[in-house]
Subunit: 103 residues, 4 copies
């Protein structure tokens, strides 16, 4: 079962600008070697359950090292027999609409 | 760091009535021994990261055994030096408002 | 179509303790007159789309008055021909499992 | 207050393949004229609260016309004095890491 997982993780004790902490997570995600896609509200990664959850845990451990309250949202779409959906889900919608949706 | 985790997990290939599958998850949660609280939109459990994530994984493995597409939402609130928040968060709001909010 | 809506709304610029702001939202929710249920991770309300969204908007307007960054999560479950699900969804699971899940 | 809103909306009574319904929503979003960005797990739109919520409501009304159970997730990040964040949030992370994150 291939898993698409989107998540965002934010410290609540560091004020309203948190890009320093988000950047550290993105560095961990990038080094995981899993396919990922950053969007304005979170990051989508693709892999097996254990693989994608390990990345989230690594980001949590890092944030846990110097933050005292952490908020995290995770959204998962798991589907049997389908890989590469990090690209194909968008392409399928574009094909149906016959439109390029990310100009 | 104590973690409050709320999650809901739903098969997308079993039609609009999914209580059979939700019940199986609740049975797994109940048997985990962790404090939990069921609400109309999900279940909140409390524990360390590894503990609460193991419960979610166990529910996923069970659903994965006979469902071909699974959607899952997870919301996490982790806070240093605070245990028992599964009860105390609600009590704090009720104290501030001087009202019983779950009549 | 009856809507169950769970939401949580948090300022990001007020430090890690935000119960003052959450309490104000609960007061607005309570005064809306809609059925609601507070849990450790959010509040579930039931009504028509316009009704439940108005409550969320009222909470946002209040928080907007003195906060400069706001994070909000909304989860919706809408189902035709079913009212009173704020109570019946939990009861159905308890009936299937033949267990009281909120001891 | 400029709002970034990410949402996904799915019928639960149409089987595991729902791209037909997602496409209809994307068409509504595209015609709204608001800046948007499609990702593998949802769509991010930017505007004022009333503007972005109207788009979500229009998608709901369409799905409501022929679906009997609808699940919807909405995530909001509202911040004073900042527009154009649908592009700038990603750029800021890339600048901090000195890396192009969407190869």
């Amino acid at each position: 079962m291939s898993v698409l997982l989107e998540f965002s993780m934010t410290p609540l004790d560091k004020g309203e600008s948190v890009s320093k902490y988000v950047s550290r997570s993105l560095d961990i995600i990038d080094q995981s070697g899993l396919p990922f896609s950053l969007n304005p509200m979170g990051t989508v990664i693709e892999g097996q359950w254990e693989e994608v959850m390990k990345v989230v845990k690594d980001c949590y451990d890092k944030m846990n090292s110097d933050c005292s309250r952490i908020s995290c949202m995770i959204k998962i779409d798991a589907r049997k027999g389908k890989d590469g959906r990090i690209k194909s889900k968008i392409q399928k919608i574009e094909t149906i609409l016959n439109k390029d949706l990310n100009k």
